[in-house]
Symmetry: D2
Subunit: 363 residues, 4 copies
């Protein structure tokens, strides 16, 4: 059963391999009457693109220009499905020739081969992170809608690379802070150390993991559908569906294991300014019982190091022959900075879907 759709009411369906004709996505369920241009989408895609800085290891020269082929007329959404497309241009299959018959350690090409009886060795096919272009494009629509209609902001950033941990306060970080450096780490001192580490790793022809802090502000109370489609469950699924993600935690996450209820529980108070009841602290991370509480949603997403590396590794061929592999081609040493817009996009897709879902029953 296919797994290339995400969302129920703001539903995206994606297609496209790394080295095929194009990456495409159909966004179905977008409200009509909403201003939308290719530039609105391109801005997020450009954040995802391999950059010029030294951290941007994958030097594939794709313009990643997005085309809106339907669903928008005279600059406005019309309620019909939005088809977005970016053509693949700079696919260098020759880089992959030497890996054609080899299973890369840690890579999906082993399981694709076993599952489908074949795999697209050129570029990794659908297992390539190039697929996330479609997510970012669709997520840009959701981000724009949610910001304009509800003031919701998505401000994820790189919190950790290797052992270097940012000390930025997620409550204060702005998109501008994040975009100040190519690491997308708002703590400049940590960013400098991270850059040095990534460069060292690259020189070693190796790769390195890290953690992205996800932050979503101004989500209204009431989003999330018990008992299975709780907001943290759908956010978790969204993040764990991104390439290389191995962990997700919301609020205090794994640290909760060591806490007592009397410590962890957020007491309720009446906000003097608004007269509204709200939790005094936000240990819960913006949800209670799987439903948004009106507080900032924050979470962390753990990325493993990229599997394709230039360093020599032992592996076997499809025919079971032991070989040494030194991968060539354009591969990132650290995907974290480029994954920031993907985390924002997936967050926006979840919030948009749940915003519409809540309307069906409750508004």
């Amino acid at each position: 059963m296919p797994g290339n759709s995400f969302g129920q009411l703001f539903k995206i369906t994606t297609a496209g391999e790394s080295h095929g004709g194009a990456i495409g996505v159909i966004v179905d369920g977008c409200p009509p009457g909403f201003a939308l241009s290719e530039a609105d989408i391109q801005i997020e895609l450009d954040r995802r693109k391999p950059g010029e800085g030294s951290v941007a290891a994958s030097a594939r020269a794709e313009s990643d220009t997005i085309h809106i082929l339907s669903g928008v007329s005279d600059g406005v959404t019309i309620g019909t499905p939005i088809l977005l497309l970016a053509y693949n241009q700079d696919a260098r299959s020759e880089d992959y020739e030497k890996m054609k018959n080899v299973f890369r350690p840690g890579h999906a090409d082993f399981t694709y081969e076993k599952k489908y009886g074949r795999r697209q060795w050129r570029g990794g096919g659908r297992g390539s992170a190039r697929e996330t272009l479609a997510r970012v494009a669709a997520g840009a629509i959701a981000q724009k809608y949610l910001y304009e209609k509800l003031g919701i902001e998505f401000v994820s950033y790189v919190e950790q690379i290797g052992g270097i941990v940012s000390s930025a306060d997620f409550n204060l970080v702005t998109r501008a802070d994040i975009e100040k450096n190519i690491l997308r780490c708002p703590d400049e001192i940590s960013a400098g150390k991270m850059l040095a580490l990534v460069e060292e790793v690259r020189r070693d022809k190796d790769s390195i993991g890290g953690i992205i802090r996800g932050v979503i502000r101004n989500v209204p109370i009431g989003l999330g559908e018990p008992v299975f489609d709780k907001l943290p469950a759908d956010l978790g699924k969204a993040m764990l569906s991104i390439n290389a993600v191995k962990g997700f935690e919301i609020g205090l996450g794994f640290n909760c294991a060591q806490m007592r209820g009397s410590e962890h529980n957020d007491e309720f108070v009446v906000d003097k300014k608004t007269g509204q009841t709200r939790p005094k602290t936000n240990n819960a991370g913006g949800t209670l019982g799987g439903i948004s509480s009106g507080e900032t949603i924050y979470f962390r997403v753990a990325f493993k190091p990229v599997s394709t590396i230039g360093k020599k590794q032992k592996t076997v061929t499809i025919d079971g022959e032991a070989v040494d592999l030194e991968a060539t081609g354009r591969h990132d040493s650290c995907v974290l900075p480029r994954a920031v817009p993907i985390v924002d996009a997936m967050g926006a897709l979840v919030i948009m879907d749940h915003y519409l879902r809540n309307k069906t029953q409750n508004i």
Copy 2:
């Protein structure tokens, strides 16, 4: 939009509040011709029941007897939907009278009230963990099927409570080891310490969090549907939909952040016994590119401490009046041991669904 169904091909839909008439579940899509009795299901429900031991804080005297009302004839599934029901018997609404108009800190009753304009203050309604009875019942069917047809085993256990961490090796643990003590921690020494801690916490009228280690053995290669319904994504969603869960990680999880690709990648070798290619190590935790690799799937699930505690907490009423709350009623100080069968059940529902999903396209 409703969120009370889980799974696509082995699909469950649950219903029932803590203090209503019954907890029910319809299991749709179960293959026909498979022996199934109420006893097969009761065995898992009994693992979930509040026990007699001191760790079992919630002394609600429910028999939780399961009834099969359809889908099984002459002891065998017939391919039609299976309706399972357990009647609610020992609901003591009076315990909740004092909390009728009060928002419990850390509890879902605040967000339910805001979302639905009401909440079932008796027992917490659908926000109560009593809802998980339906999951365990449905999961028992999946566990039985998967074990009998494919030899797949689910052997989750308590790995951590508060600061006490079990040193059991998840590769060796058996269901019998787990059931040896009421903590469901296979490391007896840690279990003893955990028990002491839980008793101390209870005396303090407080609660404590912890971590469950999930283990799934003998999953065939090829389960998981790129790009959104990857196996870790669906397992993560399953776990994060359980009450009180705040984190999920698979394989080395958050520890990956500090690793290099050359360390983390699992090299491929040819298994001398079987002649099959397989990873030499299993850092990945049993999946590659979101698809099962044939290795043991292991993950960790973080639980926050239970929110309803007897200790005095500050909060407000629905009318915004500041009050002190000392909850009465039957509440667990530590849900971890009772959550073990829930983790097994949710794991089994995911694997069963993906086993059927993989068949549709690939077998």
Copy 3:
């Protein structure tokens, strides 16, 4: 893949065989804060029950008492799934003994046997029309909601049995007119003839087909989701999923084949009273481009004669032996009158779902 759910946002999942423990349904997605009692549902179930009149052939003495086991508290829906149950009481398996190994001509037991490798010969299992009890119960909730909130009425009736065709004008018929006689045909003269025909058919130990006219009034403009979930498409599916239905047409239906566009097109005019633009005539049957136009929705549903008859028929056993079959047991000679509330129920489920669906994107 299971097929026991209907609807997306007002979603029902049904279970239960003719001779199992119960017929059940979970209604998920019902808006909260809506008064609902068992009596509200029972009223529609009683319309579906085998009656005392001579037309009511199936004399099974079920009380069909509905129980609400969740989702309603203090007489009001609370936004959680509603579990409805009617226990099976008067199942006489002995009536079916003689048909245990015989394929009834025209009956589902042949295809169930081939599909699932087994079938519930007692009462026909899930192929029995007893399954429709769940639809009627769920539909009663939708009917009540739609009438109270939007004034929408469902007034289906028997338009034809055998060659006898009612001359009632569907624009004028009321629920009271329909319930005046046991045929549920508002044209009394035709009803009398139909009754005589059905009695003759019963004496012949035979059965007879017919046509139900479906009528839905006061549906707001805008329901229906292009391009696949058009309102006529979902109404058609709903009706064609009812046992014994072989045809569905909306508006002028098959008669359109002989018409010219200039005849069939409904001209638009401005309604003098309301100032609203609307079609002057309603040949289209209440939808344009698959979306409700604000006019009365009307359609026709064709039922084949019931397959189980007392008259001698030739058939074969499971072992391929030719035999004569004279069915015993309680079977209707004509299901049309009892199918009227089923048509109303399925219509209400479709309209309710599309009312909520339209809200997600457009309101």
Copy 4:
């Protein structure tokens, strides 16, 4: 909630307006390892194209060239989603200028305007039959797969236009017979009369309705999912989702209303050649209890006359002003011949989906 996806396991999602950039479709769930070229798809699209013959009224000069942009590698499907695209080339918006502010009688532009607050007056946007290009393209893949793997054939044809009814025997008709004339009516004498009628209608600047006979041969026993996703229910929905369709009947359809059970029931016999039990006759139209019986599936689909006509009609503008409308632009007088491949395509999508669905639970 969006309605642009069809199917569960062989799932298509379509996009594209009449006068936008392209018509696109993503086909998700296609089994891997299946030879597929653009030519395989183009052959069905060419059947749908406005032809040169006099019956082909809509003279839009689109090449409708299909592009496969993903999911196929080295001529073979690889298990990933297949993205198909046909660019819009010959869109003449000026033809629609005069209808920009006018509601065409019988047309979807009234309901689109009311539902979405806007409509694409150029070419009818998503309400245009141009959308069906995507269905035919996706259906071509299903047809090829089903024929090659299972020998299933789709041989729909025009059975009636206006009052002229073909006398061809659907059991004998071949694809070659159908393609012999531009009417796609295998009875040459009727075809001649139909052609004359269509020409007369065109001269009158009018349009005419008709009926397509759907025929599907060699479907294995067991497809169809009780109780809601019965095969006739899903076929009916598929057909009723096609533009201009107003009725669907399977087997003897509406004629069943006048029949007795003893006439209508198909007796079972043992086939002397194969030793298999099967119905002696096929009044049921190839399904029993909603599940395929192994016999030929046949049905009829009623089409209303096209709503956009050159003949003068009274209507109103968006501002409620009464006007006379004489539509210009390229519109068919009779869509039946072009709708034949659409009926085949939708039939193939349903059968393919149910073939995969049956595998999940039963094979």
